[in-house]
């Protein structure tokens, strides 16, 4: 059963260490004990995995209140990690016997543990070490020979296994079985020989393998990247956000002497629970990349020469103003990268709109460059995903359309898998080739690449036939929808997509029978030739099934890059101002900015590059983006940056695009600065500076701010906090995302 989002749990009365309290029925005793600050040590128990009660570390004495008021104590101590709380339960966590039992379990665990803490990566942050300090015996009575096993077994490029240190808690094995679902690890042999390993001793081949390193309560699984590089007490840990994709995983970035050494997951139950994907966890150290732009550079005599910041600024402003004065506002253009924070994006579009008076701004690398405003999405509201991560567990059907979820949105994949595994949520996948998500999907539609629109139309037509009339009542423009897909009968769909009528019918029935549905659309939609029509079709599917205004259902077009959502919100678009305002609604913005804004819509990215080729755009400012490598049509982008008269590239690395720059400006990498990112569920999350900037790099927002100062002579923003405050004035939904409100877990802005 899907987990209802707003269910009121039934409370039961229990007593722990003499303190009476009420807890939700079925909550494990080990969690209930935390409420009264009774410390129950654990090894195998993990909050986000099913409890097994293997390690016996969490034993407590338990009794039940009898009707006559007496307490009947259970003869044996019980594992509190698997014992659900029920009415009248009485528990003691600190009795003499329990203290003895904890000592006993730790003594058992340590008899075969090598105790090589001085050379162990985990030493200093090791649950076994901590529990032994707090609860364990001071000496061991074990004088026999310890178990000897291989100590440095590479399981994969990322993970190293030390079998001697392993305490067989099974967390890693359970993770691969339950959470990531790839079932790569298993226990081999039995009894005292039990050891975790991959089946057939093959390579540990998983997209989430890094997590087992973090959940290992000893140093048995270590990161090959981090191994022997630092000790926990000489690293500095900073909270931040992973910028690998639009999931916005909360992470800790650990650095030693200003050098990033590792990335760990930071718990956020709303977003990534406590997981990361390998792409994020083992991402290259961009801060120390050899091809970083170290200082501002200007092309002189065909080569980029280092200059001072003010020289670069002066040249940029001179060229941009000059060309604008000569060729009009369309002679300058700006391309914003989706790796930039909300503050950067906001100031970038402000620089172009208020500073250069041009609407030629875009951020899109995908084929779809049409409208992103409200009208398209009506009546779903703004062009932003409707649901949040948690809804995956509350909905009854997850329809993954045109997305290789595990690759594009790893955390959504994990959460969708959890929803299926734990709560029995069904899944339906439509993708041209088999994907990982098909393993748990009840039904899969494999269509010919490029035929997404035909498939969606066919589905819509089938749905209109299947849905009961009373459900369709009151849907505006139903007849129009019906007419638009009238010709999309199953035979036509099969000819177009290769999906057999029976398969289509089954999928449509699945959707029609589900009380709610979350539609997750991905890369194949963004890059579709007729994306606008396709999105419209998906909107209609969401509408006719009644999911448009449901809390646990809806349409979610998931941005593909870290701050793709923020770029739309901040108005890094040629025809849209911050806050989904059309260009006609510029008055309030003019009031805040104190200037007049252009009314002419600007050029979208394709048109912008085309204009560069035709030399109508003379000056191009590319900030935080690498279109030559990442644009869906790299040839067009490459030709555009080569032929444009004056190219400014502001980026972290000397990218393919930056090679052609006339002015190259060094920007800070994500961990060298602070800011906010908006993830695919509209959650604005903060990052903090973890390491000092490299060379003369500046945060993007500061560069724009300094340019704006020179242009408009207005007081610039001195820090991102102020920028965010201004965003809140311009886009009221973001007022809730001011820095003071964001805290550690971020805030999801609400559609108004």
């Amino acid at each position: 059963m899907p987990r209802p989002k707003h269910a009121e749990p039934k409370l039961v009365n229990i007593e722990i260490n003499g303190i009476a309290l009420q807890v939700p029925e079925g909550e494990y005793l080990v969690d209930a004990a935390k409420r009264v600050e009774a410390d129950v040590p654990v090894f195998c128990y993990h909050k986000y995995m099913e409890a097994v009660g293997m390690c016996r570390m969490c034993l407590v004495d338990v009794g039940y209140k009898q009707p006559d008021g007496s307490v009947r104590k259970m003869p044996k101590p019980q594992a509190s990690c698997t014992l659900p709380c029920s009415e009248g339960m009485v528990a003691w966590t600190e009795t003499e016997q329990i203290i003895k039992d904890r000592k006993a379990v730790l003594e058992f665990l340590l008899i075969n543990h090598p105790l090589d803490c001085p050379i162990c990566d985990r030493g200093g942050e090791c649950p076994l070490q901590n529990n032994t300090q707090f609860y364990g015996p001071s000496t061991s009575r074990y004088i026999e020979i310890k178990r000897h096993l291989p100590k440095s077994l590479p399981l994969s490029d990322h993970v190293m296994l030390d079998l001697e240190r392993c305490i067989q808690c099974g967390r890693c094995v359970r993770f691969t079985e339950e959470v990531s679902g790839d079932a790569q690890l298993a226990f081999l042999f039995r009894g005292a020989q039990t050891q975790p390993h991959t089946f057939q001793l093959t390579e540990f081949n998983s997209r989430f393998s890094g997590n087992v390193i973090e959940i290992c309560p000893v140093g048995a699984l270590t990161s090959r990247r981090y191994r022997f590089r630092a000790r926990p007490w000489d690293i500095v840990t900073q909270k931040t956000i992973c910028t690998g994709c639009s999931n916005g995983c909360n992470i800790y970035l650990d650095s030693r002497g200003g050098e990033m050494v590792r990335i760990n997951a930071r718990e956020n139950p709303q977003v990534n629970e406590t997981w990361t994907c390998d792409k994020g966890k083992f991402q290259p150290n961009i801060m120390r990349a050899p091809n970083r732009i170290q200082q501002p550079m200007i092309r002189k005599d065909g080569a980029l020469q280092p200059v001072e910041w003010h020289e670069a600024y002066a040249l940029i402003l001179e060229r941009f103003q000059d060309e604008r004065d000569k060729g009009g506002v369309n002679a300058v253009a700006g391309f914003a990268g989706q790796r930039m924070t909300n503050e950067d994006l906001y100031l970038f579009q402000k620089l172009f709109r208020a500073g250069f008076g041009s609407n030629n701004i875009d951020h899109r690398l995908t084929r779809y460059q049409g409208d992103l405003n409200k009208d398209l999405y009506t009546p779903l509201g703004t062009f932003a995903p409707q649901n949040e991560m948690r809804d995956l567990e509350a909905t009854s059907l997850i329809f993954i359309f045109g997305s290789d979820l595990i690759d594009e949105q790893p955390m959504v994949y994990l959460r969708a898998r959890k929803a299926w595994h734990r709560f029995g949520v069904k899944a339906l996948v439509a993708y041209p080739v088999p994907t990982e998500a098909e393993h748990f999907a009840e039904n899969a539609l494999r269509y010919q690449p490029g035929s997404e629109l035909a498939l969606a139309s066919g589905l819509l037509r089938a749905l209109l036939g299947l849905l009961p009339a009373e459900k369709l009542d009151g849907i505006e423009g139903l007849e129009k929808i019906r007419d638009s897909v009238a010709s999309c009968d199953p035979g036509w769909v099969e000819a177009q997509t290769g999906v057999a009528p029976g398969v289509l019918e089954r999928a449509a029935r699945m959707i029609a029978d589900s009380p709610s549905m979350m539609l997750l659309a991905g890369e194949k939609v963004w890059n579709h030739r007729e994306a606008q029509t396709l999105i419209h079709m998906l909107t209609q599917i969401t509408r006719v099934t009644g999911n448009a205004d449901k809390e646990e259902g809806g349409l979610n077009l998931m941005p593909l890059a870290a701050n793709g959502q923020g770029a739309i919100d901040m108005g890094a678009l040629p025809n849209q101002l911050p806050g989904y305002r059309s260009l006609a609604e510029k008055a309030s913005l003019e009031a805040v900015w104190g200037c007049t804004l252009p009314t002419e819509p600007g050029l979208a990215s394709d048109a912008m590059f085309q204009a560069c080729l035709e030399s109508s755009v003379k000056c191009l400012y590319i900030a935080g983006a690498n279109p030559v490598a990442e644009h869906y049509d790299p040839t067009l982008a490459a030709r555009a940056v080569q032929s444009v008269e004056f190219l400014v590239v502001q980026d972290v690395l000397m990218t393919e695009t930056a090679q052609y720059a006339d002015v190259a400006l060094p920007a800070c990498a994500f961990a060298e600065r602070e800011g906010t990112y908006t993830n695919f569920e509209r959650r604005a999350q903060r990052t903090w500076q973890a390491v000092p900037p490299t060379g003369e790099a500046k945060p993007d927002w500061r560069i724009f701010s300094e340019l704006l100062l020179r242009l408009t002579q207005q007081t610039p923003a001195f820090n991102p906090r102020e920028v965010m405050k201004e965003v809140g004035q311009v886009f009221p939904a973001y007022a809730a995302c001011a820095y003071d409100h964001l805290k550690d877990q971020g805030v999801r802005w609400q559609q108004g």
């Binding site: 097994v52 009660g53 293997m54 390690c55 016996r56 570390m57 034993l59 003869p75 044996k76 101590p77 019980q78 594992a79 698997t82 014992l83 659900p84 029920s86 039992d101 006993a104 379990v105 003594e107 058992f108 665990l109 008899i111 075969n112 009575r141 074990y142 026999e144 020979i145 178990r147 000897h148 096993l149 291989p150 077994l153 590479p154 079998l163 305490i167 067989q168 099974g170 226990f187 081999l188 042999f189 039995r190 009894g191 005292a192 020989q193 039990t194 050891q195 390993h197 001793l201």
Partner: protein
Amino acid sequence: MAEYKLLTQHIDVPDFYQMQVYESLGGYLGLKKAVEMERQEVIDEIKKSGLRGRGGAGFPAWIKWNGIPKDTSKPHYVICNSDEGEPGTFKDWELMHKAPHQLVEGMIIAGYATLAKAGYIYIRGEYVECAQRVRHAIDQAYEAGYLGKNILGKGFDYDLYVHMGAGSYECGEESALMSSLMGERGQPRLKFPHAPLPTIAGVWNCPTLINNCETLSVAPHVINNGGEWYAQIGASTKNSRGTKLFSVSGHVNKPGNYEIEFGTSLMELIELAGGVSGGALKAIIPGGSSMPILPADQCQDAILGYEELMEKGTMVGSGGCMVLNEHSCIVTFAWRTAEFYAHESCGKCTPCREGTRWMVQILERILQGKGRPEDIELLLEVCDQIDGRSFCALGDAAAWPVRGMIKQFRNEFEYFIEHGKSIVADRPEWQRMAPPKHYERYNPMRYDYTYGIERALAGKG
């Protein structure tokens, strides 16, 4: 008192495993009677009989039968636990090998009473002949219309399957058995109150009745003769009813299975088995190797009954009665027992995984003459640390015998540690019968199971 042959009454009749012979001797009458009764009446008969589980715990059988939901919103299953792994026990072997139809009949009755869809007979992997015989019996029962669709015209459908274990002692534990049956790793699962009872969510999360082979074999007799009749057998005991098969082995003249009425004395059982051989009696383990040992002086007045033996500090268990004469070495016996449990520990929980190995290592060191006086206390403490702390009863089963032996024969352990040799080492009788000294052949690091991994490592370079 002599044997009371109920289950083993016709066991020596030639071809008793064949349907014709079994039916000619009153076979399947119980089933025919049962299907005429209401399902609840069958359960009530079992309740009246006072039948208790024969697998070791002695849990009243009817409570399990009655606990199965009365509706069939989920399919119900019956499982026969014939994974007879307890050292010293071989009663199920005889019951399955010689009277397979009796078990099949019991399974059908249990299935009828609990509205089951199918039954599984989980047979220990080594019992190949038994599995053949049981399969043969099932085939014959299908032919005779006792299994399959519409059994005896009563509209009751029931199928029976044989599943062979893969040689793990742990799979005799009911939840591990069900894991194994479902194709998972043979490890125990959470039990009540941590998880629902198997009668609510057992195999494949469906209501499951799981009973021992002997318990199910009794069912036809209870139905055939009535629960009250069965309850009269063994009425002299406190709460044990009926007969019990004891597998007598060790130093007796006629080792074998003996069926006796509850209330028979332990010494009578030994007399049935031809008396102690090779010397005077030293000790008896009455219920299989997991149970605490009973020294000779306490054996004299021991009565075979669940509560009666409990008072003596041991248990009926599975009825694997092991007899030791005066020339046996208890320390070696303790080592061999501990070695078995260390080998069979599934490795799931810490106390059992680490504790059983530690016990063997200590005992091995004592056998090698390197014992320390404090080792006895250490062994007792390790036993205490395992007992009641492990995930399932295997940990308890490993701790009880060693603790029992130290408690009853502490002097032998002390002698061994002090002199570096057994108290019976110089006796020619011991030298004749002493088992091969495995512990010398084994080295303490023998749990290095790394050959496969080293090979993989070599491949990786």
